[in-house]
Symmetry: C2
Subunit: 320 residues, 2 copies
Amino acid sequence: MLGLGLIGGSLARAVGPLLPVFGWTPSPGTAQAAISDGYDVEPSLEKALGRAARTDALVVLASPVTKFRGLLRTIGELAPTVRLTDVASVKVAVEEDVADLAPGTRYIGSHPMAGTAASGWPAGSAALFRGTAWVTALTDDSDIDDWAMVAGLALAVGSRVVPADPQAHDLAVARVSHLPHLLALALAQVGEQGGALALSLAAGSFADGTRVAGTRPELVRAMTETNRDALVDAMDDALGILGVARGSLASTGSLLKIAQAGHAARDRFEHRSDQLAAVTLDGDDLVDQLLSVGAAGGHVSGVKRTAGGLTISAWYPDEE
Amino acid sequence: MLGLGLIGGSLARAVGPLLPVFGWTPSPGTAQAAISDGYDVEPSLEKALGRAARTDALVVLASPVTKFRGLLRTIGELAPTVRLTDVASVKVAVEEDVADLAPGTRYIGSHPMAGTAASGWPAGSAALFRGTAWVTALTDDSDIDDWAMVAGLALAVGSRVVPADPQAHDLAVARVSHLPHLLALALAQVGEQGGALALSLAAGSFADGTRVAGTRPELVRAMTETNRDALVDAMDDALGILGVARGSLASTGSLLKIAQAGHAARDRFEHRSDQLAAVTLDGDDLVDQLLSVGAAGGHVSGVKRTAGGLTISAWYPDEE
């Protein structure tokens, strides 16, 4: 575990009872806190990577994404063929950095969608991942055995595993995670421009709509700025819908279209997982089968090694 | 109580134990449900208004704002000098309709900010108003005794009373209530455009950011479309902030400005009521004093009739 903040610290706590886990953090204060809590923390990155290489550990990059290139360079030097995953909220940029700086690692990108506005070792919890989506990135080059180890880790901590192509992942999170942050940040400012009276009247819809604006700005920037192209597209779609609504309100006084289309979309979101069917995946084209499950809105619920290879249980949306 | 939906039905339940309350609803099903629950429901609008005029009751317009003009016309005919308030989420348009159709009523506009995505008599609860803001509209023409009755009602059901000029109210709610609805409606659509994978990854920020898109479209339209000018301004401010951020992301790759300014604004919102000082208002210029309290972000916590007139307790933000 490289990094012991909210995600790394939570993962260390969740995995600790199941598997040997050791970590490293650049922060002496965090290291001290984790050691006091009984965790195994290596004093240097070099020692941590040497131990990972010797024990064939799965290395988890759990530091801020802005630190990845420096870490990957060291991994490429000291543990060039290690098993590797990360927990960043973008996947294309990290895949590229890994290919550039640590191309020999057995890398499978992860995105556990379990962030909160809190951060740091003390905010961590073994329960953070329970019931959340954990994206595992898959490409034609992915080794299914490397994937199985990362998927097994995600399942062990209580997540549902969503296989996704890195680019499809980035497009999706631009819309359901990064754009919501920007809308919340804009709303917080527009509300404040209304002055003290406006803020004293702010309740449910404003509090809900601005909640993620409480996330630390450097974390928001790290995730949004590394997903530039997909996020610009999502912003354009939002600006388009709002611009049309603004024009309609100003000219005809009607908000019919946005009110109906938005309500219908929210309604479908709320009822999206009503019907799921259990399926079993095996055979030679597991990467393709897994990507189909993820693209359809399904997820993996179990991974078993059998004599014939891997047998994977998944839930697949059931068309009515 | 004219209208026994979420707000009217909740108010009937909250006031019932304190004062005699009777209601009317155009829906036979709602009337039947309220009668079964032990409430006093008049069979016709005419009977309800006749009784209100005879008993000098406070009439509460609690129907959808789109029905107000019809009701006000009947009030102007059958109970032209009755005490009157309403619960609509816009105040300028209702003030104008009252001046037009029932100018002799002793009207004080209200906006209890206690809506939820639910609606109808069964969704009501006596606790709905506890701890929420209840705006009371005040102008130079307002009679302070009429205001005191409405404020007393709001305090009795557990609200804090926020005095506000009708126009200042409309500008404020455009920013902290109506705009959040439109952003949620747009976000719900942009998320869905990301397909099944995007919705299966949607969690905290998307669920929070789209929650109020679950409100019934006709309620959203009723409140937003009647607040057109203020809402267009708020939308322009939001579109401006998002447009600048979009340009900066596309050109320089930076979201520094929106990330920092939005986070700071959210932070000030979260800590806005840390310091409040108790003040007592009395004297001749109570309307002006009350409007100052509301404009500064304060609220009224008590209204007492004394020999010398009204004595009002309020909380006023304490500058550090």
